[in-house]
């Protein structure tokens, strides 16, 4: 297996594995975020658990960060190699005749998602890490001590229409990325069953429903606070 991940197919597998992990994480992230619409208390409880449970913080979080960085860095490396495989481009190329826009522009939808992640980390992750590990406040409580802070912080963030607009645009790009990426990951992993209609349908539903759900959450909090 020594040269496996240096080969073109080995890298396809690695991209697919990191994609599977990120798609699972996205589902889990959505499941917790939608609680903020259904029940603020449940959202606070779930957020506190995720933010303080050792296995999440010290095992899953580093794996997630590695998965995100690996997916982006390998995406850039493969894009550079792919571009170098055709030095002279066509004077006329009709890509739309044989492939989807999403499949041909994964690097651009990926870059939009990366830009969003920078904003998202500045918005939520860095303040969270600062509160817990710099200030040392692991209680998850509001400064006045009256209940958990998570729901209040979330609602406050979505007051700004510019931020909500940026989130909506980012999730549209995420949907476009997933529309090709979901089935592409299965194909790269060698799954022939992906060509079956049911799995293709599941890929479409996931690619549209999850980003749409995140957009709904952002708009819900914007218009309700």
């Amino acid at each position: 297996m020594s040269g496996f991940f240096k080969s073109s197919i080995g890298r396809k597998y690695a991209m697919a594995l990191s994609a599977f992990f990120l798609m699972f994480f996205l589902l889990q992230h959505f499941a917790i975020n939608i609680l903020s619409v259904i029940s603020p208390d449940a959202f606070n409880e779930a957020s506190h658990f995720m933010g303080t449970f050792w296995a999440v913080q010290y095992v899953l979080q580093p794996v997630l960060i590695f998965g995100v960085i690996y997916h982006f860095v390998m995406g850039f490396i493969l894009e550079a190699k792919n571009r170098s495989a055709r030095v002279k481009t066509y004077a006329k190329n009709n890509g739309a005749a044989n492939s989807s826009w999403m499949s041909r522009n994964m690097i651009y939808s990926g870059l939009a998602i990366l830009a969003f992640l920078v904003l998202h980390f500045i918005d939520f992750w860095i303040p969270e890490i600062n509160t817990k590990f710099i200030d040392g406040d692991m209680t998850g409580l509001l400064p006045n001590g009256e209940g958990f802070r998570y729901y209040e912080e979330l609602a406050h963030k979505f007051e700004n229409p510019l931020r909500v607009g940026a989130y909506v645009i980012a999730f549209i790009f995420l949907s476009l990325h997933l529309m090709h990426g979901f089935s592409s990951a299965f194909q790269s992993a060698g799954a022939s069953s992906m060509r079956k209609e049911k799995l293709q349908l599941f890929a479409k539903v996931y690619s549209i429903a999850i980003p749409l759900g995140f957009i709904f959450i952002a708009l819900f909090h914007h218009f309700n606070h």
Binding site: M1, F4, S7, S8, I9, G10, R11, K12, Y13, L78, K81, N82, R83, S84, A85, R86, V87, K88, T89, Y90, A91, K92, N93, N94, G95, A97, N98, S99, S100, S103, R104, M106, H180, S183, S184, Q187, S188, A189, G190, A191, S192, M194, R195
Partner: protein
């Protein structure tokens, strides 16, 4: 039909090359695309202009020699055909047609529309074969039973003519549909099992060495393939490659 053609001209591998406009007249819609090119070359020769070099051999869609990128698509706008099977009825009188060679770092241009596809030969040499004792005691092929399903799938993969349309169409200039087909045609048959591990490892290693890009599953290769080679073959090659690396 009278047509305007924008054609890539390049005197040799070292020339920079450029697109040149030509007018071609009296083209019948029943002609094949290569016959139209023959007429153009006759007209160019009569004018004392160097004719356009292009690859062709059988003109029956089975040799895989013709290799033009026509109006932004490998083998032109028709589906399931090579350039020699493309008919001029696919175009209209007065059309402007752009004709380029297949573009890939691994397919360098030799002259005009002719490219060097020997990278495919080297990939085949790396493992696209089975070793059979042919010293007089060769076993009858029909003595080994093969399921109809496996035989059909192997035959589908074996119909790849190695024209390179997959590489030309792929935005990454990836050769994985070609290599996937060549790996699959043996992987599906009992005769291919003996050398299965070395075959897929060596062919993928040679493919990477030739400088082809990585597959990103756009599916363009499958659409443009004149023989309808399925993406399923790439998935099978990926499985074979993983399995071969696990086995060591």
């Amino acid at each position: 039909m009278n047509l305007t053609l924008k054609i890539w001209r390049q005197t040799d591998a070292n020339d920079k090359g450029k697109m040149v406009d030509y007018k071609v007249t009296e083209i019948s819609e029943h002609m094949s695309f290569l016959e139209m090119m023959d007429v153009l070359n006759e007209q160019l020769i009569n004018k004392g202009v160097e004719p356009i070099a292009f690859d062709h051999d059988c003109r029956e869609g089975i040799c895989g020699m013709c290799s033009m990128y026509i109006n932004g698509e490998a083998h032109g706008p028709d589906r399931g055909v090579t350039t020699c099977q493309l008919h001029m009825r696919m175009f209209k009188d007065g059309d402007t047609i752009t004709i380029e060679p297949f573009r890939a770092k691994a397919f360098p241009v030799i002259k005009d529309l002719v490219v060097d596809r020997s990278a495919f030969d080297r990939i085949q040499h790396a493992g696209g074969y089975i070793s059979v004792n042919t010293s007089g005691n060769t076993q009858d092929a029909n003595a080994t039973l093969i399921s109809k399903h496996a035989a059909d799938e192997a035959m589908d993969a074996a119909t790849c003519i190695g024209c390179g349309a997959c590489v030309a169409s792929c935005k990454n200039a990836s050769a994985m549909l070609f290599v996937g087909a060549k790996v699959s045609q043996y992987a599906l048959l009992p005769q291919g099992q003996v050398e299965a591990v070395d075959r897929v490892k060596n062919m993928v290693a040679q493919m990477d060495l030739e400088g082809f890009g990585n597959c990103t599953n756009t599916g363009a290769c499958e659409v443009e393939c004149p023989k309808g080679i399925s993406l399923e073959n790439i998935a099978r090659m990926n499985r074979e490659f993983l399995s071969a690396n696990v086995k060591g």
